[in-house]
Symmetry: C2
Subunit: 201 residues, 2 copies
Amino acid sequence: MVETDKKREVIIEGAIKRFIHYGINKTTMNEIAEDLSVSKPSLYYYFPDKNSLVLGVIDKIFTDYFEIVEKDRYTDISLEQRLAGFTEVKHRFFQKYYMLHLSGGSPDSSLNSDELKSHFLKMKKKNEDFHAAIFQAAIEKGEIAPTDTEKIAELYLESLAGITSLCIMHGNKELFPSKKEMKAMLEKQLSLSKIFIKGLQ
Amino acid sequence: MVETDKKREVIIEGAIKRFIHYGINKTTMNEIAEDLSVSKPSLYYYFPDKNSLVLGVIDKIFTDYFEIVEKDRYTDISLEQRLAGFTEVKHRFFQKYYMLHLSGGSPDSSLNSDELKSHFLKMKKKNEDFHAAIFQAAIEKGEIAPTDTEKIAELYLESLAGITSLCIMHGNKELFPSKKEMKAMLEKQLSLSKIFIKGLQ
DNA sequence: TTTTTGACCGTTAGAATAAAAAAGTCAGAA
DNA sequence: TTCTGACTTTTTTATTCTAACGGTCAAAAA
């Protein structure tokens, strides 16, 4: 039913608005329903439970992310430029969806259910595969030396994610990292990315 | 009074034994006193409060750490070997003192007081300076290209620390990361360290 | 038949309180 | 000067309670 999918989309977008501002745990199904001027049971007609809705939200966010990075996949730029671009995209998403605590290490971890965690790991794997393909292409172009692209992609992404993780934790107990911290974080990630690529040559 | 310092040392070592097993927050001053067969007020004679004792403990741990790495400072080995050695030392300390949650990002963060945090930052700075000097020496030897050693040292250490941080968080809610996770973490750090150095050449 | 809803139920997260245990103090003994 | 038993104050933990939340259902609306 295409009509059903449309409504699901509307609900997901409504949920995202709340989630971005208040976080997943502080957003109730009632609030989402009221925002959309429908009753709570309507929500439950389209999503069996809150977890499913959260899953839909996360899936949408990742779909959006992959859509953007896929666009850049076959552009003719250097590996360094490409990865810098991806880093910036990730950074934008990190900022926009910060309240959803998708980067893990959240104080009130929103992703408690095994279902969500497993889906999250799937997305992580997809991203690793995507980056592995990027590295593979770079090898074929002679930009970097041949290596185990899967391992390198994982290491590369975890190194950058680790810096994000540190930023979240060292955040002085504020709800939101400051603009300054955010900027410093991005710069560190770009520097590291640059050095990392050079180290692969 | 040298006798006083000796006693302080004994108390610190007793505290460490408890801290290693139960963590800082789950260790009481009474327990430390009983272990040493003294009364609680005796402890308070040598340390004005628990924070001071914790500070003493942390200071001792860092002193031990720096003592080890300083030894390797002027040995005639490659930068890669040297940093790999340091990484392994850090890893040993991380494992040994895991329950103290010195790497931050602890669920029950032991380091709440500003005094402790500031001391911790001092140790971090000292470690950064130490590594900056290592990088400087490597530049002078022609092992790596000239750069801003302070920035690079910070980035290098944070990259490795980030991996530790991810390891702690993704730890499946167990009290202790498994041997397997620990090994994987160390290997990632060594790989990253290697690539990082190569990227500095 | 598909979609929507008001009214309802069981569970849970959070506030409030009480009880326990911990940190920290002090007069005085060794 | 160093140490202790007995004490007070503060913090942590356990408990209770309640409001709010997630989720359901019979029935109405489309």
